[in-house]
Subunit: 233 residues, 2 copies
């Protein structure tokens, strides 16, 4: 997979050794996350809103219902910054200064267009639902035309993006390693709890296998055995 050429806007200024511009790294961070934060301008003020996303090939799609503000001013597309963040651990160094966070993050910049064609939109919503809960789309009642019209989706081409990853243990100043201070990492991860059935569930409806054995995107394996895969690409 070719690298994403760094631009003035995506080139990492701080700790550039943590940066990466290869598509595989960026895609893995995107695909492994359930949700993202979308930044956009409204009346020259920056807004940041959490929303769902899915990648199909080289396009990143974000669910736009939370983005009504963006769309109101977006006939010719809207400049977005989509940031995807995984926080993997708290890094306790011997010095307060070197305390850090283990994370994987990707930033995708560009101009997004609304997906208006109903067939294209349906394909994106299918991918979005399957990204969040693989196997769910075939069970759920599909959107009727009115629901489809009421759902908005934005498409952002992944052409200008960077990843930043901080793994491992603390990095202390040489002299500080002689201090009798505990140092290390407290790992963090997102986990699922037992499914809670809706109290109005019809009698006799069993918990589907894809719910009972649900895996978060970051823990799924694709056909190559790599993490972060989804079925729809």
């Amino acid at each position: 997979m070719e690298a994403l050429p760094p631009t003035e806007r995506t080139r990492l200024k701080r700790l550039p050794q943590r940066g990466s511009y290869d598509r595989e790294t960026v895609y893995r961070i995107i695909d492994g996350a359930l949700f993202c934060h979308v930044g956009f301008l409204h009346n020259q003020v920056p807004f940041v809103i959490p929303t769902l996303h899915v990648r199909i090939g080289e396009q990143l799609y974000v669910h736009g219902s939370a983005a009504s503000r963006m769309l109101r001013t977006a006939a010719e597309g809207v400049a977005l910054c989509v940031t995807v963040t995984h926080v993997d651990g708290l890094v306790l160094a011997r010095s307060a200064f070197h305390h850090s966070i283990n994370y994987r993050s990707a930033i995708i910049l560009g101009v997004a267009q609304e997906v208006t064609d109903p067939d294209a939109k349906l394909r994106v919503l299918h991918a979005l639902v399957e990204h969040v809960v693989p196997g769910r789309w075939q069970d759920a009642r599909p959107p009727c035309p009115k629901e489809l019209a009421a759902t908005s989706v934005l498409a952002l081409p992944i052409t200008e993006a960077s990843a930043k990853v901080r793994p491992g243990g603390p990095g202390d100043d040489a002299a500080d390693y002689a201090l009798p201070i505990w140092a290390g990492v407290i790992p963090l991860k997102i986990v699922t709890g037992a499914p809670v059935a809706d109290e109005r569930l019809m009698g006799g409806v069993e918990v589907p296998e894809y719910v009972a054995n649900y895996l978060l995107p970051d823990t799924r394996r694709d056909s190559d055995g790599k993490a972060g895969g989804t079925n729809l690409r």
Copy 2:
């Protein structure tokens, strides 16, 4: 605690019944989170970056090292949007359309100032470390003047903010409750793993109690027994 007056920028347009402008709700969402996403403008382009935060009274402080881009253009303050998001569950409705996410999010808008006074900065860094890992500050080597100078912190007054919370089960259309489709919630939460000691740890250094019994901010209790409390206010 008085309410935050909604402004044109914070008044919720979509699903306003999920919104709240009371300080207690906003504070609880802020205090319960380890990190936030900060949106700002750089050359008229919106950027969104994850970073650490801590609240002290009515001020929200964000760690600025990730924010070098913001500060370069910010002599008279920088317009920020700080968004704090907790994702609590995947909501599987009977219809694809009503699939949702359970979440608690807060958005704080305003103009942030850099904290330049060394004593004030030290106080914020103390609070920041204690917010992430209560008990850690007294153990870690404190910042020397050079380290303190190399760390940047931005202060954002919490005057324009809103919270949005989506709890509970799916909300389906009346007719869909008769469908034999499983519906419910897959709960999500962040958990910690067992602490991993640095391989260069000095012999004889034990895991401190505050690491062994670490609680994430969202699971801590303040003196009133409420969740999301921290010691430093």
